[in-house]
Structure formats: C-alpha cells, structure tokens
Amino acid sequence: MVPEQQQLHSIGQATWRRDGQAKVTGAEEYVSDITLPRMWHARVLRSPYAHARIVHVDTSYAEALGAVCLTHADIPKIRYNERIVSTPPHLYRDRYVLADKARHVGEAIAAVAAPTEAAAEQALRALRVEYEVLETITDPEVAMWDGTEPIYTNVQLGDQELSIEHNIAVQRTIELGDIEHGFANSAVILEREFATSRIYHAQMETKGVVCRPESDGGITVWPTAQSIHNVRQLLGEIYSLPLHKINVKRVPIGGTFGSSIQMNSVIPICVGLTLKSGKTIKLVTTREEDMYDHVRYPSRIRLKLGATKDGLLTAGHMHALSDIGAHNTQAFAFLSVLSGWWASLYKLPAMKFEGKAVYTNKTPSCAMQGFGNPQATFAVESLMDDLADALGIDPVEFRLRNYVGLGGTFWGQGPSVQSIVLSDGVPELLEKGMEKIGWPGRPVSGSQTGRYRRGIGMARGFHTSGAGAPKPGEVIDYSGAFIKVNEDGTVDVVHALMDHGGGTLDAIAKIVAEELGIPSDRIGISPADTLTTVYDVVTHATRGVYAGGGAAHKAARKVKAILLDYASRVLGIETNALVIEPDETLGQGVIYCPSFPERRITVGALAKLCQTNSWGSIAAVESLRQVNCPPAYVAYFVEVEVDTETGSVRTVRAVIGSDCGTVVNPDLAVGQLEGGLSKGLGYALVEDNSWEQESGRLLSKGFWVDGKTPAMSESPLLEDIDTFFADSYEPSGPFGAKGIGEAATNPCAAAYGNALYNALGIRFTELPITPERIVASMVAAESGATKAVLV
C-alpha cells in the first residue's frame, strides 16, 4: 500500500517506453546491425563430436586464403568462469577461450576472420582438425558410474585445483532441523520424483560481438551482454589488459531470458582475433550455433513432504540431480537456489536438501528465467496439491497455512542470501485469484468423462528481487548510477544496467523523475559503456528495478539535495522548506516553498543560473547494495480443456496475480505477466530439446524448425488472460517497488500440472506434458495402471 502522503506523478502511470518506437520501427540497432569501417567478419569452427581430444589443428590452408586464424595455441592459457556473479572462492573455472578438448557438439575449437563473411566461411572450411573421438556421455547417471570416461580430470575452484571424480561437478547438502523427527510426527507423507527438461532460451537475438582495436593498444567492444562491467573484467583478466584500455559498450539486446548472464563464448574469441590481427572484427552466431550454446538447467527432483492432519508441514527431503552439460557455469549457485526457493515457498520445521550437478557431453546449462525456480516450484507445487488432496484440505487453504510470508525468512539466492519479508500480498493474490477463476465451482479431480474435459489448477510462487542481503554472501550484488541535471533542467541518467526488453531502463527514468519532481519525459537514459559508468553487477535475479532502480533513486536523492541547496541560495528560503513538483503548464519541474508560493524557480532556470554564475554542475554518483531480497510473489490460476483423444491442451483462461510492490508502469508490468505465461506454457506443454544419446547432437540439430516454442497462436486470447496486482508496498524498494520479471513465469508449469490433474485425475511429473504423454497416460489409467504414471 502506498503511504498516503506519497502523491506520485510518474510512478504508476502507464506511459510509452522511450525505446518503444525504435524497437517497433526497426530503428533500434542491435549488435548485428553494427557496421564499422574496414570491418572483418569471423566464423567459429565448432566440434561435430560430443567428446573428442583435439589432436591437431592445421590452419595453413586457411591462412593461405588470407584469413586470420585463432586456435587454442594462440589464446592465453587462463581458465575462467564466464559468469562472475559468484564471489571468487565460489567460481568454478573450467573453460578456455577456445577448447583444449571438445566436450560437447558445438564447442568452439578454432576461429577465422576474413574481409567478408563468405571469405570467412571459405577459410573456416579450409581448417583441418584431427580429432580423437572419445566415449559420448549424455546420461548423468551413467556419467557418475565407475569407469566412465572423465569429461574433466580437474578444474579450478577459486585459485585452487580441484579434481573431478565421477564427473560430479559440485554437490551440496543443506540440512536444517531433524527431518526424521519431523516425518515421524506426520499424519501424511508423500514422495514423488519430478523431471524437467533442458529447454533452449529461445531469445530473439542470437549472440554477437564487434571488437575494434584502438590506437593506444586498447579495445572497444560491442557485445550481446547482460553485464558490460563483468565482460570488461573478464576480458582484462584473460588478455592481461588494464581495464581503462577496455571499453565495453551497452548495445540494445533482443531478449535474453538469462542467456547472456555470462560473458558469451564468442566475445573473447572475437577479441582474440582482433588482438592477433589488429582488425576490427564482427562475429555473430547463427541460430544453430546459439542452440548449441546454452540451455536451462534440467532437474530430476525427488521430493518428500510430511504434514500433520491439521495441514501443517512437518519436514521435507529433496534430492536433486542436474545434468549441467559440458561446463560448470553456475552449478554451485544452481544447487544453492534450488534449496533456497524450496525453503522459501513453505515453512518447513526440518528440511534436508541433497543436490548433485553432473557433467555430461551436452550443451552447457546456464541460468534461464527463474534460475531453478520453475524446476523447484513444479515439484513443490505439484506435491502440495497432492498433499492437500490426501489431507482433504482445499489446496489454497493448505498453502495459506504454510507459506513463508510477512516476517518470514526468504532465501533470495540460496542459503547465504537471506532477509526478512517486509511486504506480502499473498493472501490478496490467492483470494482474488480464486474469485476470478471461479475456484469453488471447479470439478472434482478425475470425476469427468467424455472427450473434452476441463480442469482448473493453481500454483503460487515468487522470485527474489535481487541478490542483496544484510550479510555478504556467495553472490555479488550492487549497482551504481550517475545523474546530472542539464542546463535546461532536463536530466541524464548514466547507468550500466542492461534492459533485457522489459523496459527496466524506462522504469529507472520514472524513478528518477519521481524523486526529482521533474516530468518523466525530461529524463533521458544515456548510452552506457564501461568507461563512463560505475559498476552494476548484471541484470539478473529480477533485480533491475529493485536494485538498479534503488541505486538510481539514491543518486536522485543526492541530486535533489544539491538542487534544493542552490534553490535556497536563489530564493532565500531554507532548503528544508522547499519542494520540487512537476508543473504541467511549464512542462518541467518547479522548486517553490508551499508557505510562500510566489518564491519559485523552474529547475531549468536554476540549472542555467548555476552554469552562468559558474556555481558548478548539479550531479551525483552513488552506488547501492540492497540489504534485502524481497520476494516478488505471483499466483497462477489456469483453466485448461483437454481433448482426451488427441491429448491436446487448450488454455481456456489464465488468471495471474502479482505482488511486485508498487507498480512502476502498469502496461509493461502486465506485459511481463503475459510473457511469463507464454514462456511458462511452453515449458509446461511444448518445449523438449532432446539429445541423441549416441552422438550427443540435438534431435533438432539446432534447427529452429524443430526447436519449437509457443507463439501467439498458443497463447490464450488477451481477453482470457486476467492479470492483477496486489495492493502492496515494499519498504526497502524504490517508491515501494520490487521485482516481477522472473516471478511472472515461475509457477506456470506447476499450475498447468495441477489443472491437468483436476481435469483428468492424472498427476504428470515430467515436463513437457505433451499430447503424446497425455494420451499414453490416459491409456495407462484406463487399463488400471494408474500407479505406473504416478511416480
């Protein structure tokens, strides 16, 4: 709830985002649009084998064609982790710029650059690589067997060598309380195994980079990236360049869903080619290369939960296995957050989490929208429904009795990032959601007959807002902003934050406008690069508005204080007696004293006076670590219709409620929820992205035609998507705001699973719930083999 004294002029208003017109007209320039004088083009040679030693790379024919070639021999022998969000002691370093050994189909082995892309392609085909092909390991269980070929013998953890046994990249056990005691005191105990798939991010833009050598020995880089500063630091580390000689530019990004949280693998390759050749080089991947570059972490989760007959949870035990593929990008963090999301969904007096992340010869996993949350929530929210059923308690009531809400402890990024919940819209989300979907009228699960059956299901969840906490943890989290008032009273906001497409930077402008009392159209977002911005860790963990916006808010407060100081000098009124408000007629901010309204000056006039009187610039730079990680709660209620003969599922209606604190821009917030539904229903019902066991190739071969993701046709009609926001205010957020982006998708798959259970009386424990699986389960259920599909 917004405090009464807060009269907001910018926050909460539905406004057009400032980059919207450029995006819809095609004027926006992405990396692939960048063309520089005398620019060469690069291509990467990728391993056709899932697991192979590289015996020899012969570049002589390619060089004879005039190409510049880069191989493992050319690059610094520095192992690194391309995602430096974890603190250094928790960084697992297992990769080189170009591989020492092919560990998955598509691994970058060598690269070439030539004056045109056609010439580069010709040179690429003139490279000769001799491989010694090794056993392909695609099954994580097989990977752990004695005698299985090791994918790594050792990697680096922090600065130390770490030997890898049984291809296990990392294990984590987290235990709180006595689970044996808890289970012993349970009236009902249920246990099931759940599986989720390694889906591709399917962001619109594939990865690209342009690198230009500078005459002072430095480089300028235009990358596809979620963090320009982390890209700069990694390039400095790998190529031993001082940071002031590396300028990484922020380039608009065509969506990420997390796929650029790390420094993308092509960035250091392109830089290596530039440093070797002295040429400006552009490297843009094809869709097929991109599909072999990253996937969501899959999961096999065995979950056991106990509850008393009064419907209070007693204990939980979760085993999690994740097939991380060929590189450990953030498996440690993944296991941490799996445990954390689980611990934060419901109050468990005792819990034990045992997680394993295993290397295989497949595309490396990386964070994807929700980072472990859709996986954990699918398991937990499916089992919560079953528990409610077993106890004879309404599923929503059961959740209300057990959820972690106001005053509870929320794990925003695993066990080391915890803070107390200060805002909680969950009761409102659940009550309104029930009313809107018609919860009391839903059918008894499994009671229907006939070809078409409808079901209503719900699931709740959240995502964190940022990875900040009172104590320093395993995760780096802070932002910074530089704000200056121009000589006409307009404002430039210089912030390193990346906008993934959700309008985060537009929200930052609105926050600054609100604090300064200046109309939001007078606030500009400056182009950003690493030379002119202060550090921002990365846009991830739904932290853009909450943490990035928090830093901008802090800097705006300081700018406001400077403005009022100068105004005090001009108006002869005490600083504390002055306010700034936007004046619609003048179209700008006006500083005045409410007791003496005739004593007033526009921000523009004041800024001009500051300049002409040589008083100085009105500007401030601030950096902020949020010391909370507030949960951005979400509740999903979906109604589905199943054609039991074809197994196809139609979304009849979806009700999505969000507690994102203060809503900064209602239209964009609704867009986040609608997008979360689209992405979530793809995860629930469609996307598979499977691998051939023998060859380690994608069944789709990386071709988009078989990498299916839902489009508009699969989405319900807009009038059948009902979105709403809880009346909520987060005390630690800018103007009460917290996050929304990843929360928007997290409970979606679980809600579909529960709706299908309601329609058919069949519990689906494996994603995606395809028509093939539905028909097979119907047949099994009808032949009395129901147990076969239940675990």
């Binding site: 291509r43 040679l45 990728r46 391993s47 056709p48 084998y49 192979a52 015996v55 024919y61 064609l65 189909v105 598509g106 892309e117 056609a118 392609e121 010709q122 690429l124 085909r125 003139a126 490279l127 000769r128 690589v129 001799e130 491989y131 010694e132 092909v133 843009v284 094809t286 869709r287 097929e288 290369e289 072999y292 003969e645 074809t646 197994g647 196809s648 469609v686 499977s690 060859s695 190739r697 994608l698 069944l699 789709s700 071969k701 990386g702 071709f703 035609v705 078989d706 299916k708 993701t709 839902p710 489009a711 046709s713 699969e714 395809t770 028509p771 093939e772 028909v775 097979a776």
Partner: protein, 326 residues
Amino acid sequence: MIGQHPADLGGHGGGGPTEHANPTETQMEDFTNTHILVGEFELIEPHTLAQASESLRTHAGEAVIMAGGTDLLVGMKMEHIRTKYVISLGRISALKRVDTNSDLVIGATASIRDVAHNSVVRQQYCALAEACQSFSTMQIMVMGTVGGNLCNASPAADTAPALLALDASVHLTSGVREREIALSEFFTGPGGTVLSDGEVLEHISVPAPSLSTGSAFLKMGRVAADISKVSVAVTVVRSEDRVRQCRIALGAVASTPRRIVAAESELLGEKPTISGISKVSQLVQQAIEPITDVRSTAAYRRHLAGVLVGDAFRQAWLRAGGGEIT
C-alpha cells in the same frame, strides 16, 4: 577412431567455396552458415514457361526450380541442396493465377495466402482452404506456393492431403511435351516426384465439387506454426443420407502423402455411423506407416491419425449437408 573436420579441401583455390566433405560423416550440417548462401549459383529469371523449360533442359542436372523459395532457400542455406543454377518462376505472371470459373485452377506460383483467401476456395474447397490456412505464419503464406509445396514432395506437405482428397491433378510441361496426371500418381518418395528432367509443374486443377460434397482438413503439430505430426483430409459426396463417394488422404504418416483407398470404400453406399467411422479409422491406422522422429512417435501418430480421420469425416459430412452422426 580418428575423425577429420572437414576432410576435403578441393576447390578452395579460386572463386567461391565449393563442395566439401561428406557432411553426414563430419556432422557439419548442424553448423552450416545460415546467415548466408554459401554455395555460389546463378539466378535465372525467365519471363515465360517456355524459357524456363529451355533453361532447365540446358542445365539439366545442375538446376533447380524456385517457386516461393521457402523450402529451397532453407535447403540451400543448410546445404542439403547444392546447385549451379536456380531458375525462378517468379517473373512468369501467368503462373500466379487462381482461376475458379469452372474447375479450380491453381498456377504453379500462386501463393498459399492467395489460395487461402480465395472466397470460392473457402466455400467449395474447404479442405484446401484449411490446409493453406494451417501454414499459420504470415511470412510463409505470402512467399510459399501450393505448387512448390507439392513439388518439394515432403511427406508432411500440408496442401497435398487436401488436394489428394479433392481429387486434384497436376499439369506438367517440358516445353516439348505436356501431360496431366492424377496427384495420387505424382509423389514417389520423400522429396521425390515423377517430374522428369526439364519438366515443370504448370498448374494444378481440382474438379468443381457438387453441392452435396463436403471436405475438411485437420492437422496437428507441436504448435500451430509447425510441420505436421499428422495431417488428414477427407472429402465426402453425399447421396441422401448415404455416402456416395469418399476420399481420405493423410500426410506425415508414410514416405509420401497418400490416399488410403482401403478405408475409402468402407462406407460407400452406407449411412455413416459412429461405429462405421471407427472402422474407417482402424483401416487407416492399419494402412499407414508412421515413423518416430523429432516431432512425434510412431505410436502416437498412428493413434492420432485414427482420431483425426474420424473428426475430418464428421466435419466433411456436415459440410456435405449430412447431419450429426450418431
């Protein structure tokens, strides 16, 4: 085992990149450069069909015909197709026609969208209109052609079952000789047709249906904009409350789109009933040879074919003026 990547360096001395090592062996096909058309080719754009046939004969074995290009260009980017000459039919305006004066005549380069939006097609050739609409994505519908969809001869070509069920024939010309054959004789295997060297599809003709004829097309993919897991088209001609004629065709369940003649005769002269339709579905399921691939499984395809045949039959019967089947 020692692998090489790629082994063949032939022809890299001069002009453009040329042939390279066996792509299956080196698995290069996953990483072709789909930004650009790697293989060099000459684009020929004749203004008449005679010129097109002439070019095709001149460059026999080295040329391909392009209608809309939606399959061809993808194939060339993926390097499944390598060719020295691409003969585009795009400038031959007569081939774009959709003529509904008597029988339906569809020129070789009439777009999927033009056919889908044609009001006569929508009223009288429902199965074809539905098949064209099922392409779903605007870009493909605008560029893609019905003629190209047939000549590409994918087992999953969506217009093929519809046109088979509508008893279409194709008019082929080589500039020297012309012939007209039933569409059911046209396909020889995945990607294969009876088109001989120098021969071009000129148009497709579909006999005008009687008033008591109804047709329907149904397909299922993983999503709407997808290659079919199974596609089905049924045409029924009604005589009072009995079936006078029936044609059933399926896509994506055999090496070519095909009619299932064994199932078509089941209800001839009969009143359609639920059990009769169920028998038709079973006959279809017995006759097809579906496979398991990235899109679906053989078992599901067989199951789905039965369901969709029943649904399409009921829809076609309604459109033929028959009632609800009980």
